[in-house]
C-alpha cells in the first residue's frame, strides 16, 4: 500500500534520514521503533508532505506522492495523528471531530463516522461540549485518534500515541489500535514503547540515527537479542 524507497531528508546541514526503505502492506499493522532523534517522526512528516524530502520516492497505492501537497495526500486517505496529540485546545470535542472531516464532502457518511468514533470512544461522547484543552492526556489522545478517523483514512499513521500517558491508558490506546485495524484500516505506528508496539504489529522496523538497522516480523523482533538489549532493557 505504501512504499518508501531510498528516502533522504535533510534539515539544513543535518542528514536526518539516510536512504530508508519501508513497506506497509494493506491491512497490516507496521511499526517503526527507535530512540529519540532516530528519524521516526521525520519519516511520517515527509510521507504526508509536511517536510520536503531531498531524494527518494514515496509511493502510495501505486501513485508517486513524493513532495505533494499535504491536503492532496490527506484526501487520498493517508492520514497522520501528530505527535503530542495536538488537539485544538479551545474548540469543543465535537468541533475537533468535525474539523477532522474538513476535506470530506459526504455529509451523511461523516455523521455515520462520527457515531462510530463515539462508539469507539464512549468517553468522548460524554464530553461533546467540553473544550479539548481541558481534558486529560489520555482523553486528548483518544480525541486525536478520533479526529484522524473522521478523515476516513485508508492508512493511518500514528506518531507516538503512548507519549506521556499512564500505563493503563497506554494499554487502552493499543486495544483501540487493534480495533481500528479490524475495521480495515492499515496502520503505520511509530513508538518508543517498543514492547507494546511490537506486540500488536505484524511487521517492524528498527530505526537508528536515520538508517534502518533491523526489520522483521513483530514477534521475531520482540525476541531478537539486539532489540531486547537496546530497547526492552533486558
Amino acid at each position: 500500500m505504501l512504499k518508501i524507497r531510498d528516502l533522504n531528508v535533510h534539515y539544513g546541514g543535518i542528514h536526518a534520514l539516510k536512504g530508508i526503505n519501508i513497506d506497509v502492506p494493506e491491512n497490516k499493522i507496521v511499526t517503526l521503533i527507535g530512540a529519540n532523534g532516530a528519524g521516526k517522526s521525520t519519516t511520517l512528516r515527509s510521507t504526508i508532505g509536511l517536510v520536503k524530502s531531498s531524494s527518494g520516492k514515496i509511493i502510495y497505492n501505486d501513485k508517486d506522492i513524493t513532495n505533494r501537497k499535504t491536503k492532496d495526500i490527506v484526501s487520498d486517505g493517508l492520514v497522520m495523528v501528530p505527535e503530542g496529540r495536538r488537539v485544538f485546545p479551545n474548540l469543543t470535542v465535537e468541533e475537533n471531530l468535525i474539523l477532522g472531516a474538513y476535506i470530506r464532502k459526504d455529509k451523511n457518511a461523516v455523521k455515520k463516522d462520527m457515531k462510530w468514533v463515539y462508539e469507539l470512544f464512549p468517553r468522548l461522547k460524554e464530553r461533546i461540549w467540553q473544550k479539548a484543552g481541558t481534558m486529560s492526556g489520555g482523553e486528548q489522545q483518544m480525541l486525536a485518534v478520533g479526529r484522524a478517523l473522521m478523515t476516513k483514512p485508508k492508512l493511518l499513521m500514528m506518531d507516538e500515541p503512548s507519549l506521556g500517558l499512564a500505563p493503563l491508558i497506554v494499554k487502552e490506546i493499543f486495544e483501540i489500535i487493534s480495533e481500528i485495524h479490524k475495521e480495515g484500516v492499515t496502520i503505520l505506528l511509530i513508538e518508543q514503547n517498543a514492547k507494546a508496539a511490537l506486540e500488536v504489529a505484524h511487521y517492524g522496523y528498527v530505526l537508528e540515527t536515520g538508517s534502518i538497522v533491523l526489520e522483521g516480523k513483530g514477534m521475531e523482533l520482540l525476541n531478537n537479542d539486539e532489540v531486547q538489549k537496546a530497547y526492552l532493557g533486558e
Binding site: 491536503k71 485544538f88 485546545p89 474539523l99 474538513y102 476535506i103 478523515t151
Partner: protein, 351 residues
Amino acid sequence: MKKNNILTLISIIGFILLLLVLNITLGSYKMRIFNLCGIYVILALSLNLINGFVGLFSLGHAGFMAVGAYTCALLTMSPETKEMNFFLEPIVPWLKNVQLPFPTALIIGGIMAAIAGALIGAPVLRLRDDYLAIATLGFSEIIRVVFTNTQRITNGPLGIKGLPTIGITGQSWEIVIWTWGIALFTIIFMVLLINSSYGKAFKAIREDEIAAEAMGINLFKHKMIAFVIGSFFAGIGGALLGHLMGTIDPLMFRFLLTFNIVLIVVLGGIGSITGSVISAIVVTISMEALRILDADMQIGGYIVKGIPGMRMVVFSALLMIVILFYQRGLMGTNEFNWDWIINRKKKIQKI
C-alpha cells in the same frame, strides 16, 4: 424559521428604527460620535477576523484603511474640489474628471484595499507571530510613505479636504444608515463566515497550524482569504472614516490608528465578535468622554495644566491591566446568543 432567527430579525429592525429616532433626538455632536462607533465596529471586526479568528498577528490595518479612504475620496470628489485641493501640483489627468456615486466609490475603495491586502499578504503570510506583526507594520508604513510622496495622486502631505458627506443625498439620516447599516452587514457577514466551514478552518489554524495542516486544511489559502476579507472591510471602514471627518491626510493613518483598533479588539476579547462590537462602542464613546482629562484640572486648590493626549494614558493603563490580569478580555471567545438571555430570564423569574 427558528425562534432565534426571528428574534434576531426583530432586533435588527428595532435597531434600525432606533437609529432613525436617535438621529432626531441626539444633537449633531453626539450623533457624530455615534456614527464613529459604527465605523469602529467595522474596523474592529475586520481586525478581529485576522488577529482573533485566524491568529495572524497583523498590525497593518491603518495602511489598508488609507488605501480605502483615498480611493473613495478621489472617486467621489467633484472636479472643482479636486482642483482647489491640488494647488501645489495638479492632479493626474486620468483622475481629474472622475466622479462616481458614493456607494460605487465605497465598494471600489474596499476592493482596492483588498487588492493591497492580497499583494502584501502573498509574501508576508508565510511569516509567523512577531515577524508577521513587524512585516505588516512595515508595509502599512510603506503605504503611508508612498501616499505622502505621490503628490499628483494623493496631494501628498497636504491631504485632501472637502470630502463629500456620506450618502447620496447628503442628508443627516443617511449618514447613520450608511455607517450602522454597513456595521450591521459586517456583523452578520462575520457571524456567518465564522460559523461556516471556513470559520472552523480559521479557528483550527489559530489553535494549531501543524494539526490543521495534517487535517488537510490549506494553510496559505485560508490565511489569504481571511487577510483579504479583513483588508476589504478595513478599506470600507477607512473610506467611511474619511468621509465622516471630511478630510484625510497621510498622518491620520499612522500606527496610532492601528493601535486604537488593536486596543478595541484586545479589550473586547480576541476572537469574539460580540466583544469587539461592545468594546468598539465603549472605547469610542469614552475617548470622547475622557476629553476632560486633557483639559486644565483643579486638584486640591492647585491648577494642573492640561496635557493633550492625557486620556490615552487611561487606555494604555487599561490595556496593561487587561493583559496582566484578564487576558481573555471582556468576552473571551464567547458570543452573544439568545438562549443565554432566555435562560437568564427564566432563572430570574424563578427567584
